[in-house]
Homo-oligomer: 470 residues x 2
């Protein structure tokens, strides 16, 4: 394992990269994606190869790989599928360690030509010792090594390792958690996996010291027995969250056309995740919310929650959502209700848990005191504070931020995990509030969610994980 | 029924309103909510009553109701709970038809004083013939009559009637659908329902010619037999969507503190909705998505859908979501695939349904032609076009809007229902795109959703409804 780790680790820390097949003439062409991103991330040295030669963005374009005057240990290929096997021979001659083939047109087409080409590529790799990422994928994003294939990905490194069979689902997840402060150590879009596959990367991330949590988007696996063994071993060390694409018959038909994968039945995947304590999610949004939770929510002692927010109707609905998700909303003891009543008028306040602060929210000291009393209550394991759109619009951003400060101050004394929920509506004023509240939460390392159901579900998944792990 | 209808209808078209209890001194006080909103909506004539007298915003403040020189047929009371029964007597003397009591502090407190006060209020109403909305609620929003209690509610009227036991959940729903073009005929926040209750309003909306769809948020009902009978009758005429608050034990405990309701068991409500073909939802977001669907999606012939979008991973996940929700994603027939292949390169394209337009999206005529071919396919009943955040950011807003135009042009020829999905991430650039796409969809009367799961679920609920109705 150790030497396999060192080999894979070197792929994430190449001394140089060559882009083979990058267009010389058309700046809008998709093959410029990698060049633009690597320049944005200031990767260096970077070499370009295209039979036409010339110069792009001040970089000389070599007509062939062999002409590059220095060592190249990593190439990103955007040459047409049929040229891929031949390129492997050139890579071997140049001493390239790993070749990422972005182009599609291989086994995923389901056509004889594509299937044959992929087999040839695989055989060329085996013969030459050059390892392959892909084909039909976006390859590696590793901000610490300045490797990216998207100019908009965050430049900061984080602790999430993400193995995704789909490039698009890589972008979707990174975008979905970007503003909530979740950052990645290593992300691999690995496509058809003709050589290096999900199990190789999983075993690597398990040992990688920069990776604390592992997320996987998988459509199908090449070697089910090995993948199962890898999951079983890795899950002992790090939480794994798995999103399986192609769980319905029509979905599986689509994976065949996407990455040439045999999808496996829903029952098989469900049993696998249950047995191995792998956290199973069903959408990018769920994956995003679960990552936010595992990254920022300290492990609570149990699943009993105090809900603090404004509005009777919201209080009823959030209680239903949390209880249905599997969390517990116990009633506030009478002596604590009395303590809060001493400084808040009873009318209009629901003080049973949820605790409704509608009438006192503008009196910040009362809200702080209420939160302090609730957070001392030993009947709960964590706190959720929720804001509705109407309330936020009425109070304004400054008031909301002050409220968060007051609440956090009160909770800090009695150290209990806390998270915020801001029910999101699509309108510009409301989004400004959402962004301001999100920024605030990120700055203090606290999770924020945008719906009751999303929060309840993610917190329940995290609770299940902690309980199962013991 | 007819005369009861006329009575209730007159409450939505008052000739004059008096605000009793509005503060004279403090412009920030909550009792100004109604004044601000009615002024914003230009309701006229509006009278103010407060024992202190004086003037507010250019309006004379009468010291008592009796002093108002004209007829008053509708009052909104923000007087303290204990003054409510006495006010009914004054209303009777003045010829007021209906009194809305906003203030809380009645039966929902669960305390003897509050319970007694509510009984007194009810008795005063019965004796005097003055009808009551509330107490502990926000009352009526009827934009056509210039009645509102929130300055930010839309001024345009629509076709949704909404009966909500919670004021906050009224704001939440109106905000959640505002940008997507859903507008309301009549909205009633009715709180403790000591006199006029959910069944009265339901029977009224069933006959109201301006209301085409009825949404209900209910925590508990006063008379279960009557409510059931009302639902049974009304659902023959108009679709009803019901959100029941307090379906868990802890949730039911919260409804007791909110509106003093006995919540009823989940099983009872589930059976009720199934039997009566009432569409059941479980959150404000779900209610919002279902309203968008029923309002803007023409009834499809069945549940077979063509999915058109960019990205293999997204295609796999959306297929799973639609199939799991109960919709059908049939494979595209070979002859149609061949037709599309004639003008699109096969590599990188999944042409099985979902139809992946990744490689051709910039060539608008190809996308239009593809959509035209797919919409002619008699194996499907409606079309869904989906956009991912990465794709949208890369292409830019103008390109996305052009794509929508091209797609709609192609579909118009073969008239099939269509909807768009834009996967939403929280970032400013992305929200700008979401707003632009939303505006576009609203301008042509087409539904837009912000996640695969939300769209699939709402479309399935609508399909169930149409099938059950036959």
């Amino acid at each position: 394992m150790r030497s396999e780790y060192a080999t894979l680790d070197s792929f994430f820390h190449p001394n140089s990269i060559a882009l083979v097949g990058v267009t010389v003439t058309n700046p809008e062409h998709w093959t410029r994606t990698f060049l633009n991103a690597l320049l944005e991330f200031k990767f260096n040295p970077l070499y370009l190869v295209n039979p036409k030669g010339g110069e792009v963005q001040g970089l000389k374009v070599y007509t062939k790989l062999a002409d590059i005057p220095s060592n190249v240990d990593y190439i990103i290929s955007t040459v047409p599928a049929k040229a891929a096997p031949g390129l492997i021979e050139e890579c071997a001659a140049k001493g390239v360690k790993v070749a990422h083939f972005c182009t599609s047109g291989f086994a995923e087409t389901g056509e004889d030509d594509g299937i044959r080409l992929e087999a040839e590529l695989k055989e060329a790799a085996r013969r030459s010792g050059v390892r392959i990422i892909g084909p039909n994928c976006m390859g590696i994003y590793c901000p610490k090594s300045s490797i990216s294939w998207n100019t908009a990905f965050p430049k900061e490194s984080g602790t999430i390792g993400y193995i995704s069979q789909s490039g698009g689902n890589t972008i979707s997840l990174i975008n979905a958690v970007k503003l909530r402060g979740v950052r990645f150590s290593k992300v691999i879009s690995y496509g058809n996996a003709c050589d290096l596959n999900e199990s190789d990367f999983l075993e690597y991330l398990a040992v990688d010291p920069e990776t604390k949590i592992i997320a996987i988007y998988v459509e199908g696996v090449k070697d089910g027995v090995r993948f199962r063994r890898a999951l079983e071993k890795v899950v002992q060390a790090k939480p794994i969250i798995l999103l399986k694409g192609g769980v319905t018959e029509a979905g599986a038909r689509t994976t065949a056309g996407h990455t040439g994968s045999l999808a496996g039945s829903e029952a098989t995947w469900d049993a696998l995740c249950r047995q191995l304590r792998v956290i199973r999610v069903h959408s990018i949004e769920e994956l995003a919310n679960t990552l936010v939770t595992l990254q920022f929510m300290p492990k609570p002692k149990g699943r009993r929650v105090a809900l603090i927010g404004a509005g009777g109707g919201s209080s009823v609905l959030i209680t239903d959502q949390f209880e249905k998700a599997g969390l517990k909303v116990p009633p506030l003891p009478e002596e604590l209700r009395q303590k809060i009543r001493e400084f808040t008028p009873s009318a209009g306040n629901i003080l049973r848990n949820p605790i409704d602060y509608s009438q006192t929210a503008t009196e910040l000291n009362k809200l702080t005191e209420t939160t302090a009393i609730v957070s001392q209550w030993d009947g709960i394991d964590f706190l959720i504070v929720f804001f509705s759109s109407g309330f936020a619009l009425q109070r304004g951003i400054k008031c909301m931020l002050d409220m968060i400060d007051g609440i956090l101050e009160a909770v800090r004394i009695n150290i209990k995990p806390i998270a915020f929920i801001f029910n999101l509506d699509i309108s510009l004023e409301h989004i400004e509030t959402a962004l301001a509240l999100t920024q605030k939460c990120v700055s203090v390392g606290i999770p924020i969610y945008y719906s009751f159901a999303d929060a309840a579900h993610a917190l329940n998944l995290a609770s299940n994980y902690y309980e199962n792990r013991g």
